[in-house]
């Protein structure tokens, strides 16, 4: 449930809209042939176009257009066959042209919608307002010199998708769920690596507060919110700040604020104050972008199964719970791994093993599923051996540990260590007889009504068989003989 904040004078509701800048996965920049590789020496991934030398002109990268369309489709959004590039004019040293080529009145992607999964297991729809293509800026470095800033244009001109949500988000949890879901979708689509630490996905958060159900309040845009944790903290801080101002009879000023992670607060960005007259106008160096309906159709056909579709399919065809499905689809590689495991064994059992055993130990070791020493087919084999009674669930855990440590297959460990379950009636009967013979006192006590001692006999038999005796058969035989 959306959070209601208690103020001095009553309840408040937070209204949040997000602007996410996602760097497009492509080899070259939006309008130049320079590399998009991260971490090059300063100003090496820069063409004359990226440095805005006199007379240089932009030429649009077709891959970036394709990625934007793919993303739009993944967000269940309207693809605009006609879109236009406009210039957003402002001065900043890492903006070489003195303008950013962006899309304004006619973005490439229009309205869409995604589902977010909330911590209580419920699902909420968040509207997407638009997605547009634009250039990234370079980087100013302020801490290298006491009186100078350094400018590196390696990022300048890299393609970004700005994805704008409707103000449908009501608290920090929803905001985080939205970001997490968006990142998941982008990663599934392969259109953005979603790496917030490297800045390839950045969120600006628009926050306002209002009395529940009232009209929208004045919003502030918070920039530099570079992790899910920062989103959480910045929203909580900003909502409190706004409520305090309003309750103190002040008014919110619409402005851009910066999240300061060190101080845990947002503060006004004065530098942006006179920059808000961006004087957008159609970029005369670029003609309108006209897409063909068929071309969009072809991209749609190659779209992978998306997280929500996958989740629903897992619930339906594997009979998994919503929660288990959500855990398994969180990464595409994880979902793929699970499906390979489940191929040759019980699907529900497979889900348990992947979630509880495998993800547990990988998490503990800080390993990704792609680094798992146990291959998916192997884990499937292990689970199949439980189902076909070759080993017990308890033995399986030991085998799993061995597999994880050595990378060997389940069968070779079971074989090599002789862990196969004993299902031969004669052999088990022999052990049962021995245990009865060795414990005459307990046999007498059991027979006189001490039913609880049955477990003792089972334990003794299992111990003598080194855990390999089939538990069901042990039960049956003990009952018969006692």
């Amino acid at each position: 449930m959306a959070q209601i904040l208690k103020g001095e004078t009553g309840d408040w509701e937070i209204v949040i809209g997000m602007e996410v800048h996602a760097q497009i996965t492509a080899n070259s920049k939006l309008f130049s042939g320079a590399s998009t590789d991260f971490g090059g020496a300063p100003n090496t991934h820069v063409s004359l176009v990226d440095a805005a030398m006199p007379g240089m002109l932009p030429v649009l990268n077709e891959m970036c257009v394709e990625q934007a369309v793919r993303t739009g489709l993944g967000l269940n959004a309207q693809i605009n066959l006609h879109s236009e590039f406009e210039r957003k004019n402002y001065f900043y040293p890492d903006l070489p042209q003195g303008y950013q080529i962006s899309q304004y009145l006619h973005p490439i992607v229009g309205k869409g919608e995604i589902e977010i999964d909330l911590p209580d297991g419920s699902v909420k729809k968040i509207g997407i307002t638009r997605l547009h293509l634009e250039q990234d800026a370079g980087k100013s470095i302020h801490d290298q010199h006491p009186t100078k800033s350094y400018v590196d244009l390696n990022r300048s001109g890299c393609a970004l998708m700005e994805i704008v949500s409707e103000p449908d988000i009501r608290d920090a949890d929803e905001a985080c769920a939205y970001l997490a879901k968006l990142r998941m979708i982008l990663r599934y689509l392969g259109t953005c690596d979603g790496n917030m630490e490297e800045g390839s996905m950045r969120a600006d958060v628009n926050v306002s507060v209002r009395r529940p159900g009232a009209a929208l309040g004045t919003r502030c845009e918070i920039k530099n919110v570079n992790s899910l944790k920062a989103v959480q903290m910045a929203i909580d801080y900003e909502a409190r700040r706004q409520i305090e101002i309003i309750e103190g009879n002040g008014a919110i000023v619409q402005e851009t604020r910066l999240w300061d992670p060190a101080k845990g607060e947002t503060r006004s960005m004065r530098s942006k104050e006179d920059a808000h007259d961006y004087r957008y106008f159609p970029d005369p160096d670029l003609l309108p972008l006209e897409l063909k309906h068929d071309w969009v159709g072809q991209i749609k056909e190659t779209l992978p199964e998306l997280p929500d579709q996958k989740k629903h399919r897992f619930m339906l065809s594997y009979g998994l719970s919503a929660y288990d499905s959500s855990v398994l689809i969180a990464e595409k590689v994880r979902a793929d791994y699970y499906e390979t495991v489940a191929q040759g064994c019980d699907a529900k059992l497979a889900a348990n093993w992947v979630i509880n055993e495998l993800l547990g130990i990988l998490n503990k070791d800080g390993k990704a599923i792609t680094e798992s020493p146990i291959g998916a087919a192997n884990l499937g084999q292990l689970i199949a051996r439980i189902s076909d009674s070759t080993i017990s669930g308890k033995i399986a855990k030991d085998v799993f540990a061995e597999m994880y440590a050595t990378g060997q297959t389940a069968d070779s460990i079971i074989e090599g260590k002789g862990l196969k379950q004993v299902t031969d009636t004669g052999a088990i009967e022999k052990i049962v007889d021995e245990v009865i013979a060795e414990n005459p006192d307990n046999v007498a006590a059991y027979k006189s009504g001490k039913d609880k001692l049955f477990g003792f006999f089972v334990g003794q038999v299992m111990k003598k068989s080194q855990g390999k005796a089939n538990p069901d058969m042990v039960n049956d035989l003990l009952k018969k003989k006692l």
């Binding site: 030398m53 002109l57 004019n89 001065f91 042209q97 003195g98 004087r279 106008f281 005369p284």
Partner: protein
Amino acid sequence: MTNLTHLNIAQALEGLKKKEFTSVELTQAHVKATEEFRHLNAYVTETSELALKQAAESDARRAKGQVGLLEGIPLAIKDLYCTKGVRTTASSRILDNFVPPYESTVSGNLFRDGAVMLGKTSLDEFAMGSSNTTSAYGNVISPWKRNNGDNADLVPGGSSGGSSAIVAARAAMGATGTDTGGSIRQPASFTGIAGIKPTYGRCSRWGIIAFASSLDQAGPFARTVEDCALMLRSMAGYDPKDSTCADRPVPDYTAALTGNVKGLRVGIPKEYNVEGLSPEIAKLWDQGKDWLKSGGAEIVDISLPHSKYALPVYYIIAPAECSSNLARYDGIRYGVRAEGESLNDVYMNTRAQGFGDEVKRRIMIGTYVLSAGYYDAYYTKAQKIRRLIAEDFARAFEKCDVILSPTAPSAAFAIGENQDDPIKMYLNDVFTIPASLAGLPGMSVPAGLDSQGLPLGLQIIGKAWDEETVLRTGHFVETAANFTAMPQMLMKKAA
């Protein structure tokens, strides 16, 4: 030997072919003329040494049988074209020290075809002007004088005034220009030479310093229409580095110069008969009609009803685009940086000291008309009328094949005249701007002299991509006019 600087390009190519002279000799003659006409101040940068080196290379190529379309021809390049390793200033203080590490596509095309570069010609700062009096490197003087003995220095037109002056002075065989609202056609008219602005999209804009991107177009100046055709063939062509450049084959434009205008429908726009049009220019225009009629062309009355609004539309759209195009001149990555305590001071001082008043005026007008609250009333309104102007032409071209008009409303004026009032200066381009807004090809051909002995040009406007009909008509008018007058400065020199 004949006076090599009085040959036109076609003649020089013939002479080079027949080994009557070498490119080095031809270039030396032009280097010498460059020195003699240095007082015109036509060049920001002379590149005589480079020219002689290129000429020697050209002769070597020719000896091996490698002969380009303009092999060995010495040309001047407008200083708006970035030239690799050669200072390129746009006639602005802000680019005083800028040496591009790249070559513009169009100048590169000329060099590919064997041309030799004599130097970088002066222009109105960032191509903003019609008189070449806004250059940071001083005024360019036309080689023409009035015959009234006042000896006033006349403007060569603008913005490509250095190019027009130096070609008129026979110190370069041809030159490149750029035309945004008339910057090739008006200077050609003022200096008695030919010049063509091709269809927008015909030549690549890559490496040419931008003024107003939706209007800027490269084109040649030369003393004959045939030479313009030769140069344009080299300059034009598809360039994948310019998204507004058309992927269309470039015709052999000289083949279009048939001398035949029989059946050609020549449109005469009634709106160009503006109030106050000088009787001399009106007479020349009539003369042009008569020449064409006698050649079998059909004169058709047409209407371009929104012509009157072309100037204001242009003076909204061009400044709007330039205010953004010139934002990159901030003193950070290239150009002359002025000191300042903060980064913002550096921006403010660099741009205040680097740009001249005309550039500042246009940047401010452009900034204003794009800013919140004024955008629709000015910018959007201008764009809408621009469409109406383009539609006017489309409708007119259903009735005619080319349009004939004067190039400029007057002959060249003296330096200092028209300086007090920007709008008065803007009126120079009243006949050239409509075609620019519609992206259409237009050319100016020298057609006569006014009573003061100054050249007057006629403008021929064509359909999009139909430079061939424009050149054919221009060639016919040129032949009929038989314009042989020479700038007084040359006559004096010859005497």
